[in-house]
């Protein structure tokens, strides 16, 4: 893969409700932040990829609302419906094709304006599953149970993730939900769908984000702190939950192997310094860590309990506070990329981890992490 860099990033604050800002306002804010970060004007953006979802926005052709705000006027533009990591992947390919020197990728979400449960229920097949009333939390509970049963992972193991990530969020000014928690407090929070408790689940959020990608040639003119895309891949598992072994992370393993191989990484445990992954629920952080190869299957809880994934650990995971501390869907994956970029540039403020040279960002689509996208980013090509 020819070198492509992230040259600008922008995140709005994630909040439970940003009533004063419509979708377009949020996107405009994020795009302006990314342009300012890159020191670019919109004229220097060659093309745009927007990310949105018609269900969450309550609009057919949801990208129509933000065409003015994203600055796509008289530019090539397209729309990915899915997590921001997938939208950014498309933006990357448009540069690799040689057609464009720079791509602006933006994503928006206002969870405050709709009913999350009804919308995630619509992920399920209308003939065989939807009328059962299953949605994101209840389906994830089935996965959490399968995973915990298989490996003997406990609810306390999962609670540690909540304590860590909500704690990290205090250092992140755009995070929505910094909380000072103990494992006991997480364990005492009420069950939503066993084994998932309120404090195992991400909040509902409003927010938007934008990143600007550039070819090596253009990046050299734009910034002296480019962050390079070293590898990226995605993979999708079977659809019906009963077709999958929900405790298995084969799609993530496949995507990770491919991304690592592109990046020339043979041992992620030694060669990756930081991870930002899609922790919509606490157990997911453990499972995804295993799928990404940072420990053996079933050892995610042990790794977390050892302190290795803490801000000052060997492999800090979600120093930003993760999705547990702010989860504008779709935006969430783009935020994982942005957090890695800030860390690699040394611009992560109070949440900065020392000596980050390579980082992994991760996003998901579909129920129970059916489809995973893995990015390896680095300060050097």
């Amino acid at each position: 893969m020819e070198p492509v860099a992230v040259v600008g990033v922008g995140m709005t604050a994630m909040r439970r409700e940003r009533r004063k800002d419509g979708y377009a306002d949020l996107v405009y804010e994020a795009v302006c932040l990314a342009l300012e970060d890159a020191g670019m004007t919109i004229d220097q953006v060659d093309n745009v990829v927007t990310v949105s979802n018609d269900f969450f926005d309550g609009r057919t052709i949801s990208s129509m609302a933000i065409q003015d705000a994203c600055g796509s006027y008289d530019k090539n533009v397209s729309t990915v419906e899915g997590d921001g990591t997938f939208g950014a992947f498309y933006g990357l390919m448009r540069i690799l094709s040689g057609s464009f020197g720079t791509t602006l990728v933006c994503a928006h979400h206002k969870g405050s304006e709709s009913e999350m449960a009804l919308i995630t229920n619509a992920m399920f097949d209308p003939i065989y599953e939807r009328f059962l009333g299953v949605e994101a939390i209840t389906s994830s509970a089935l996965q959490a149970r399968a995973y915990m049963d298989k490996y003997g992972v406990t609810e306390e193991d999962c609670a540690l993730v909540s304590v860590k990530n909500h704690g990290n969020a205090f250092r992140n000014p755009v995070a929505q939900l910094p909380l000072e928690l103990t494992v006991e407090e997480v364990m005492a929070s009420p069950y939503v769908a066993e084994p998932l408790k309120v404090l195992d689940c991400c909040p509902i959020s409003d927010g938007a984000s934008a990143v600007i990608l550039a070819s090596a040639e253009r990046a050299a003119k734009i910034t002296d702190k480019p962050v390079w895309v070293r590898g990226v891949a995605h993979c999708c598992d079977a659809y019906h939950l009963g077709d999958r072994d929900l405790s298995d992370v084969r799609a993530l393993q496949y995507a990770a192997r491919k991304a690592y191989s592109m990046a020339g990484i043979s041992d992620p445990r030694q060669e990756i310094d930081l991870v930002e992954l899609y922790d919509a629920f606490t157990y997911m952080e453990l499972m995804w860590l295993e799928g990404l190869g940072f420990c053996d299957p079933g050892d995610g809880g042990k790794l977390t309990a050892s302190g290795a994934t803490a801000l000052d650990g060997k492999i800090p995971v979600n120093p930003s506070g993760g999705c547990l501390s702010g989860h504008p869907v779709l935006v969430a994956g783009l935020n994982r990329i942005i957090e890695c970029v800030l860390q690699l540039r040394g611009d992560a403020g109070e949440r900065q981890v020392d000596g980050v040279r390579a980082a992994v960002a991760h996003g998901v689509n579909g129920p129970c992490g059916q489809s995973h996208c893995v990015w390896v980013l680095g300060g050097e090509r």
């Binding site: 377009a24 129509m64 899915g82 690799l96």
Partner: protein, 396 residues
Amino acid sequence: MGKRVAVVGVGMTKQRSSRPDVNGQELINEAVRAALEDAGISRRDIDAVVIGNMDHFEGINYVDTWSVDGSGALMKPIMKLTTGGTTGTTVAMAAYYHVASGLFDRVLAVGWEKNSESDTTGAIITAFDPFWDRPIFAGAVAGLALEATQYMHLTGATEEDAAYVAVRERRHALNNPFAHLHINLTIEDVMNSPYLSWPVKMGDMCPRTDGACAVVFASEDVVEEFPNKPAWILAVADRHLWAYTSDPYVNQAIENGWWFPALEWSAREVYDKVGIKDPLKEIDVAELYLPYSFAGLRYMESLGFCERGGGPDLVRSGATDMGGECPVNPSGGVMSSNAIGATGLLRVAECALQIQGRAGDRQVPDVKIALATGFGGCFWSDVLLMGREMPEKPRG
């Protein structure tokens, strides 16, 4: 530098008013298996899948992950794109960029819709802003009628001129076994059909259709593996300007001479990339997303096939009929089949068949260059130029 990209396989379902015999995944699968068979490969040879439709027409969220049983994406990368009516061409362009990036050699593009399963107009109304447009706006037909009256006012075009296009599209569809409508219409039939929103009549509009289309895209490195001759993508471009219903009618655009900037700018971009100077002469066949008859007049001008206001005369001259200078929509086009998410991709598939000389009774002789367009959103446009000869160098 990027890779050159060709279409090497095409699959489409018969386009029908309703397909209750299959669920959505099975409809998709029908087109996917046809495309794989046409390309002489199996699901295992595919490196990535790109899929698109319009969510509220079937009410299924995350269609990419839902589609896996049908789209063949099990344990493969799959990405969903959606841009309204342009979805099918957007999907084709995404498949193009997947391959052009050098990351994937064989990519399957899938567009589909089961419009029989919902209220199409009810879903389309939700495309518009809930504060400013939605309480007032009555769906796609009304928006098109605004365009038609503006066009008639600016050019003096008549309803009969538009009816000529409506008749041509349906006549062409008689040659296409996959088309939804097989009806022999006269200009009188169209003129006598009831008004939906003046001046647009029933006979001027596209139908609602169930259908799917799948297309295999391959890189220059692997095209030799496939039995079909490659149909090369020469250039792609799009403009998705604007957000509100009334934006396309701003005076500034008209005063600046841009009547339909999204299509004019996209077309100009692909012509410049390929070096097309006289599109009517140099393009051998066009498969255009004409959602209704008046578009068949106005787009001729936007695409540079004739001067401003020359659409009616060009069309009535027979230049866009089979046997004419540049036949438009030998397949019967959108006015004969409109499974919305599939529609744009069908334009690309039809262009590929024409270039490969495999279009059967709808074949235009000796097609070297073909033009496909998509229309949707807020008067948005996608344009793809395809050709028989491999481009000298990769270009976007």
